[in-house]
């Protein structure tokens, strides 16, 4: 960097999280390059950035190698919602593994710092609750979610080996359920489903009896944690995890506040009082995790961070986004 503008690459930068990260980093004065194959990402998410001279968009699939000299690489590219990643499972596991490999190879050659976004899905259907970073998970290698879960697990192992073998500076987080503006309107996960269904006056679909709990993190909290983590000096990061006997820097980032799916449905209905939607129930899909909640002790300690935006605050902002989005159509 040496006083020059910081150069940042974001894979998946036209997606829900990546596009907002790109906007933040641009606003801080850095140069941002976004790589996205636009499978689940969308040009409309970064439309306002396209005429910024410090912004570059490259349509590319990270299963193929890519090049460039960057100070920091955020690896966010991967369809994250079951209805998306199950549409082409082979592509999903390839993006996860090959995309990670290509990212790490580039970082190794150019000495870039890497931020990798793993997922709470590596814990699968957990036997430990809440999940600390040291929990190994309970994941099916052969089910319909495996392309995502096992792809992400193998990507973590790749990171661990590039750290151990080659000293690449990789910081990993496991993201728990996150919501907010710029979510894919057909994301297929519960918050966007409920909001879109309620706005369109359709009934809300609950699986099982709706008692399964989820933690919901507002996207701004996630972005805060990501940036704080990425800014830490390498030595501080290394020391922190070494002290905790963890071979690799990995932090849970999520909101530990628990809500049942039914509570979420009822809150959504109450925030859109004009809607005529009602609750309906369907059987639980295969391998659907029953319960997941992050232990964020380490993130608190290392980053001095914790989620600040409660569901009752974040949900109205998300509804507002979807309202304008649906109106535009």
């Amino acid at each position: 960097m040496n006083g020059l503008t910081k150069k940042v690459l974001i894979t998946g930068g036209a997606g829900f999280i990546g596009s907002q990260l790109a906007r933040r980093i641009l606003n801080e004065g850095s140069e941002v390059t976004v790589i996205d194959n636009l499978f689940t990402g969308s040009k409309s998410n970064i439309y306002d950035l396209l005429d910024n001279p410090r912004f570059t968009f490259l349509m590319h699939d990270i299963t193929q190698p890519f090049w460039g000299q960057f100070d920091e690489i955020y690896n966010l590219a991967c369809p994250a919602s079951p209805i998306h990643y199950q549409r082409n499972p082979v592509e999903t596991i390839k993006v996860s593994f090959l995309g990670m490999m290509n990212t790490l190879e580039l970082a190794l050659k150019t000495k870039a710092r890497v931020f990798h976004t793993s997922t709470s899905e590596v814990y699968g259907d957990p036997h430990v609750h809440p999940q600390p970073e040291t929990y190994w998970g309970n994941v099916n290698t052969l089910g319909p979610r495996s392309c995502y879960d096992e792809g992400k697990r193998a990507a973590e192992s790749l990171c661990a080996d590039y750290i151990r073998e080659y000293g690449v500076d990789v910081r990993m987080i496991r993201i728990f359920n996150t919501y907010g503006p710029f979510m894919h309107p057909r994301d297929g996960r519960v918050i966007s489903n409920f909001i879109v269904q309620t706005l369109q006056g359709e009934n809300l679909t609950l699986y099982g009896d709706g008692s399964q709990s989820r933690s919901f993190q507002y996207v701004d909290d996630l972005l805060d944690a990501m940036q704080k983590y990425m800014e830490l000096p390498l030595k501080k990061v290394q020391q922190f995890f070494q002290d905790r006997n963890m071979p690799v820097p990995v932090l849970n980032v999520g909101n530990p506040g628990e809500f049942s799916i039914k509570e979420l449905a009822e809150m959504t209905l109450s925030l859109i009082p004009e809607s005529k939607s009602e609750l309906t129930f369907k059987p639980l899909p295969e391998d659907d995790p029953k319960r997941r909640r992050p232990d964020i002790t380490w993130a608190k300690e290392l980053l001095g961070w914790e989620p600040r935006i409660a569901l009752k605050e974040g949900l109205p902002k998300t509804i507002e986004y979807f309202r304008s989005f649906i109106k535009q159509k």
Copy 2:
């Protein structure tokens, strides 16, 4: 095939198991091509096959694509012993994932039947004992064994997706500890260590107190199971696993007879009475699985197979092989 000679490809065919499989299949009159990068495989394992007109050796690394028209592909390529796979962990996970991907792509294009050798390591340090195929495992994504364990788990997921999405005919097994002639003399796992140490009059190293149990399968039993499984009609295989609510054909193949490491050490010493070796003890390495034993109910039912060669019968044959091997040097 149509009455023509069957064409078989074996990746990793210059290794311990692959070389003996190649010899068997050649003896049955088929054409055999072996691909091996000779990292842990050895030309000496297939030296007697090289002048057979139905045999072809191709030195190649399966992380790079390969081509050819085969009826059957056995995917065996991967360093399987910790001291080998930890020498280059990034290469190990790449062989596992990319090798599987390249194998499946070739099978998809050419309609070849695939046999994939997964491993009991996908169960990690199991909480269920013995392990049935339905057990999801307990594996660390970030430890020193992860390159192998998670690479193999992701390879299973790839198989599952190529089966579901593209209808590729894949049969998977999870191999438990296997020993016998043609093992790598520096395999680093317990049976070869003990035999080589005893033959050379060195002391035998036990980890912990030596009470951890292992199951030991003689290689001929494994080869019998592999060939029986590969010969079954696709419909029979599909029906069997469908009836058991298993989305993918996967069988444990191992010997459920349990021996403690200490019993094995003592048996080895008693079979080489001229040796002056004694037992020594070291601390347990990180992530070392404490106990693993296959549930082979499904293999018995589907293949009418079970291991027939007991340790007291297989161990002398293996000692004989190592004796001649060490003498040659």
